[in-house]
């Protein structure tokens, strides 16, 4: 009998169908590491779509990754809205000063057209380049920032919270503008070859707004937006907690949820088994100083907590692995997934954890 390993796409589709594939899929969500592979600065790397294609191909080969990740940087969206991008040598390009300096500007704001935004066109070119190079065997994960979360970059976090709580009419108007842009941007990536869209929505997490507030706001925005996106969507909270809203999430239409190390992975799995798949939840910040043995232990524990029965993709908990995480750590993670993630699993459900010091932290 043939024992051909599954392709990455087969592996991912099987787990999303809540069945066990040959092994747990690995989504190392690497962005800036492509620049390291090519010996380029982060700014130069993201200025050329062909570099991103080559970077992603090399990263997939090196780490036996199960996806291509066409996320350039979060502020590519505010760049399209007219904002500045601040580059550094050692981290993700960051959003500059907000493009909405006063709430009243929202009344006359117009969303950018994707085709007219060179920064977005580069992402689309990288997506179609990976589609051509990947032969359809590897899922390509595109990214949008949710209409409910992107105002943190559009106008700054504090003015946005003030808008949300004090000017509901303008808030709602901004949501409608952002939803229109987000749907167009997601569908353009799908048309360029993305297999699925990762919808980053940290503001909806219970870390940022209460579950009750989420149900009135971010949940409604997600339902409207995901209904317009013509492909599968993962809702990702970028390290924010989601346990208190977990029962609501299937109604957004998302098939996958990106979860935080702040939540109990085994409890999340129990809560949504058969309804949604989980993506997560390694601690990327701490990963920077993991030894190979610690990396293996963290991977083994995450798989033990959520791998049984499928419905689980191993990844970090933020949606982007920091530039400072070393190659040997990433290789150790990959090796551990191949060792401990092969079905049928041979891991228990216990979760490894480093002792977390309590106060005082001085």
């Amino acid at each position: 009998m043939s024992t051909r390993p599954m392709t990455s796409l087969e592996r991912v589709l099987t787990t999303l169908g809540h069945r066990e594939p040959d092994r747990v899929p690995l989504f190392l969500l690497l962005t800036m590491h492509g620049a390291q592979e090519l010996g380029l600065s982060i700014e130069t790397y993201f200025s050329r779509p062909e570099s991103v294609v080559e970077g992603q191909l090399r990263l997939r080969r090196k780490y036996r990754n199960d996806c291509f990740y066409t996320f350039f940087y979060a502020s590519v969206e505010t760049e399209a809205w007219g904002g500045d991008v601040l580059y550094t040598d050692d981290g993700p390009p960051n959003a500059g000063r907000p493009v909405i300096r006063a709430a009243e500007q929202i009344r006359t704001l117009e969303p950018p057209r994707v085709a007219d935004a060179p920064c977005l066109v580069k992402v689309l070119e990288a997506t179609s380049g990976l589609k051509a190079a990947g032969g359809g065997e590897t899922p390509i994960i595109g990214v949008v920032i949710s209409p409910f979360s992107v105002p943190v970059m559009q106008m700054g976090f504090e003015p946005y919270l003030n808008l949300m709580f004090e000017q509901p009419e303008l808030f709602e108007h901004l949501m409608r503008l952002n939803e229109s842009f987000c749907i167009e941007w997601a569908n353009a990536q799908l048309a360029a070859g993305a297999t699925a869209i990762c919808y980053f929505d940290p503001v909806s997490s219970s870390t940022i707004v209460s579950p009750e507030h989420f149900r009135r706001t971010g949940f409604q925005v997600a339902k409207r937006t995901l209904a317009g996106i013509k492909g599968p969507v993962a809702m990702h909270f970028a390290s924010g907690r989601c346990m208190p809203i977990m029962d609501d999430l299937p109604d957004t239409g998302a098939a996958v949820v990106g979860v935080s190390m702040l939540d109990d992975l085994a409890a999340l799995k129990q809560r949504v088994a058969g309804k949604m798949s989980l993506l997560g939840n390694l601690n990327g910040v701490e990963m920077r100083r993991w030894t190979a043995a610690q990396a293996e232990e963290q991977v083994r524990a995450a798989i033990g907590a959520a791998g049984h029965g499928g419905g689980f993709i191993l990844s970090d908990n933020h949606g982007e692995i920091p530039y400072q995480v070393r190659e040997d750590t990433l290789l150790a993670i990959s090796e551990a997934v191949h060792r401990w993630g092969t079905y049928p699993l041979d891991v228990s459900g216990e979760r490894a954890s480093f002792p977390r010091p309590k106060t005082p932290r001085s």
């Binding site: 919270l161 707004v209 209460s210 932290r361 001085s362």
Partner: protein
């Protein structure tokens, strides 16, 4: 009424974002000592409780932010910034390093002011301008808020530059990278980290209690 009941009432008003109920619990005009007592007895413990609840995932950041702002406004009304009853303290400052995400800094600023402290707000700064301002203002307690890991790592360069300038402020750091790696604050040369805005008040209070008198204003 038990001693904890006013704190519960004030806490609930803050979490419900109910300004009227919060002001009612805080009480009306009174003597200076009584006003300071209200801050110590109601405001500080309530904000500490809210910080703990956030760290445990039981309240949201937006509730922490709004409650901090409400307390800051109410305390400003009963203890204006120039009031001598505000806490006797050394020069303190707060800044966001390399980032336009100011919410974390804003929350710490509000909670410290609501607890009776005064501090300079440097806003968004790069490492060089932060060092020159700290030296110029003889800052004794420097709070640095960051959002992203690279900014957190840059604090080490700030510490080294301050050392070269012969300036040794107590550096208290906070922000997401420090919450996700609880050893990071040591690596960057800070003296302490605070996981929540309220925890920064506890760190500052303890520090000031142990500072020699000549460091105070």
């Amino acid at each position: 009424m038990t001693e904890s009941e006013p704190v519960e009432a004030f806490l609930n008003a803050l979490l419900a974002m109910d300004r009227v109920a919060a002001k009612r619990t805080l009480g009306g005009p009174s003597a200076t000592d009584a006003r300071l007592d209200v801050v110590e007895r109601l405001v500080v413990p309530s904000l500490e409780r809210i910080g703990d609840l956030w760290e445990r995932g039981e309240v949201s950041l937006s509730q922490v932010y709004i409650s901090g702002r409400m307390c800051e406004e109410m305390v400003d009304a009963i203890l204006p910034p120039s009031d001598p009853a505000r806490v006797d303290q050394p020069p303190m400052a707060i800044a966001v390093l390399d980032d336009y995400h100011l919410l974390g800094k804003r929350m710490v600023y509000s909670v410290l002011r609501a607890s009776g402290y005064e501090l300079k707000d440097y806003g968004t700064v790069d490492g060089d301008s932060l060092v020159s301002r700290v030296v110029r203002d003889n800052i004794v307690v420097l709070m640095i808020s960051v959002l992203m890991l690279p900014s957190a790592l840059h604090i080490k360069k700030v510490r080294e530059a301050l050392d070269r300038a012969g300036c040794r402020p107590f550096i208290l750091v906070g922000g997401a990278p420090f919450r996700f790696d609880t050893e990071l604050w040591r690596e960057v040369g800070a003296d302490a980290m605070a996981a929540t805005a309220a925890e920064s008040v506890a760190v500052v209070r303890e520090l000031i209690d142990h500072l020699p008198k000549e460091y105070r204003s």
